[in-house]
């Protein structure tokens, strides 16, 4: 974690504090400038500058040939991206939110990841699907989907979930360069959050499948990603007041999953809580939990706990929504329970 403003990067440049939104914008601009086969397509990405302003200024810089507004036709333009990738372009397809990717589900899970297998390895699909994912604030059931477990379930897709501006920039750039379909699930509530990022003249690539320990601790491993990372950091401070030292493991990528970092952390703390923004049934936490108990059962001093959404469609009412979402109180209780505190 970066804490000091203006400190030197490993290569000597000055790190700066920028927003998650700016970090994504820089990643897009750098990749568009680097490779003429890269283009950005989606609803309102050009003239409106993106529904969340992630593509601000890109139309002016790269022109309408490469920054392309679409009609509201997610299935159509997601499929267009897959077809363009079949013949060598490297599309970045923006979903205004991943809740809307559900109308393009067939293209994302049936065409993009299956092409390589069913063509006997002749057609790989170098495409990036990106956009905000996960519950935001009082958007109601249709606009609050956390889609990571749905997409991580499809073989052939890679899924990452950055929580900080640095991770957002580094993971998106890596995704664009990957020769497979990659989903960059951005955290809707974190677009305006700030963090330290290397200067623009330093190439920042963060590999898919590498988790990061965001805070070291010794008593319990809190495994989290995307919007649950700041939640875990806040809870860790509260746990510290009760003499419980929490280690925070940010998965960063859901698929591929960095088992080694997870196992190393849990082997040290012997206790694990998984806090995820998605639904409990067949959620990301279920898979992580399975892998921990399967591989390092003897290291565990307590059953693994999961904190997730409640298993109901998202209500609009603010108080009810807060109840349904993972929150600090639920995470505190789970962490204390595994520590028998």
């Amino acid at each position: 974690m970066e804490t000091a403003r203006g400190r030197a990067s490993s290569k000597g440049g000055l790190v700066r504090e920028i927003t998650y939104r700016q970090a994504l914008n820089e990643a897009l601009a750098e990749e568009l400038a680097r490779d003429p086969n890269v283009f950005l397509m989606g609803e309102e990405v050009a003239e409106y500058h993106g529904a969340y302003k992630v593509s601000q200024g890109l139309l002016e810089r790269f022109g309408p040939k490469r920054i392309i507004d679409t009609p509201i036709s997610e299935n159509g333009f997601a499929g267009l991206g897959v077809g363009a990738a079949m013949v060598g372009l490297r599309p970045i397809i923006e979903f205004m939110t991943f809740s809307f990717s559900l109308v393009a589900f067939d293209q994302v899970v049936n065409n993009a990841p299956n092409m390589f297998m069913m063509s006997g390895g002749q057609f790989n699909i170098p495409i990036t699907f990106r956009g905000p994912n996960g519950p935001a604030h009082q958007l109601g059931a249709t606009h609050s989907h956390a889609t990571e477990s749905l997409y991580a379930n499809a073989p052939g897709l890679k899924v990452c979930t950055p929580a900080t501006p640095r991770d957002a920039k580094g993971l998106l750039k890596t995704a664009v360069r990957d020769d497979n379909p990659v989903l960059v699930l951005e955290a809707e509530l974190l677009y305006s959050s700030k963090g330290m990022v290397e200067p623009p003249d330093e190439e920042l690539l963060i590999p898919l499948g590498q988790a990061e320990v965001k805070r070291e601790g010794s008593d319990v491993s809190i495994i989290c990603y995307a919007q649950t990372v700041p939640l875990a950091i806040a809870v860790a401070a509260r746990l510290e007041e009760e003499d419980i030292s929490a280690e925070i493991v940010d998965l960063r990528s859901i698929k591929p999953l960095d088992e080694v970092t997870i196992f190393n952390s849990v082997s040290k703390t012997h206790r694990a809580v998984i806090v995820e923004q998605d639904r409990p049934f067949c959620g990301v936490g279920a898979e992580v939990c399975y892998r921990i108990q399967k591989n390092i059962f003897d290291e565990l001093d307590a059953p693994i706990m999961r904190v997730s959404q409640e298993d109901v469609p998202m209500p609009y009412n603010e108080r009810l929504e807060k109840f349904v979402l993972p929150n600090a109180d639920k995470l505190m209780a789970a962490a204390k329970k595994v520590c028998y505190a």
């Binding site: 267009l80 013949v87 390589f116 063509s119 020769d179 082997s267």
Partner: protein, 341 residues
Amino acid sequence: MQRAEQRDEVEMLALMLLIRRFEERASQQYQAQKIGGFCHLYIGQEAVVVGAVAAVRDDDYIITAYRDHGHALARGTSANACMAELFGKATGCSQGLGGSMHFFDKKNHMYGGHAIVGAHVPLAAGMAFASKYREEDRITLCFFGDGAINQGSFHEALNLIALYKLPVVLICENNLFAMGTSVKRSTSLKQIVDRTEGYDIPGDIVDGMNFREVRDKLSEIVTSIRKDPHPAFVEIRTYRYRGHSMSDPASYRTKEELEKYRLDDPIIRLRAQLTREGKLTNEQFDAFDKKAKETVLASVKFAESSPELPVEKVYNYAYFKGPIEPEWKRREGAPAPKADS
């Protein structure tokens, strides 16, 4: 690379014969249980794809639905590679990983073989988008059945294709039945071509039992598109002699209807035209037929004697550049990584 825009008619007749004999042999091999899954035969429709291929360049893109054996053969994929694919062998055009519905041949610009009805029409939009993006004069031929025209992906793609003025020829192979449901029972229009009016795409109706009519209409369209990229739509009226798939006895239509179309057989028709004009003798025709039968018989032998991919290779086809999760090997009982402290 570029051939004459119109190819030798006798050669095209021989190609139609090859497709006919291939499908007959595939039917026999399916009944002998050498071929698994679903198998949809093209018998009766040969003049559609051969007429279209005769009008385009070798490097134009071709993409189709699941009744795809004829398209691959017409594109130049060998009978050996096609039969081996049906047999699931490593020497198949998709290495035995795609099967009957997923024939791919990148070298010959055959982009599949797509089995979700209508889902490949957006892919065609993407391929044509790439041609325009790279300022190439390649044209995309997108084949689909009458069943596809009521799918959402078809409509979204048509709007995008028209909006972006993409060089796509949309070829509706209207064989009157979507599986067992006749066009009259599936579509709210008197004629399918009227669908294009809603998208401002020029449309034509073509007799698909007449090779020359298909080729000439396609040549006219292709010449126009090469001058200035734009979409076009042709409803090609054809008939499949067999059921929807091998398991379909086609009890939803009468023997009389089938006989009526058999009398108008596309191969007999072109043969009669060429004979009348003194371009083909009976002996030559018989020699072509004999050669087609021998080629297909040899393809069965080739398929039978070909190897299958070893099972462990399956992991190489989930992601380009190999498995992304080396831990799949570690999952069962391997030692867990230990922390230092």
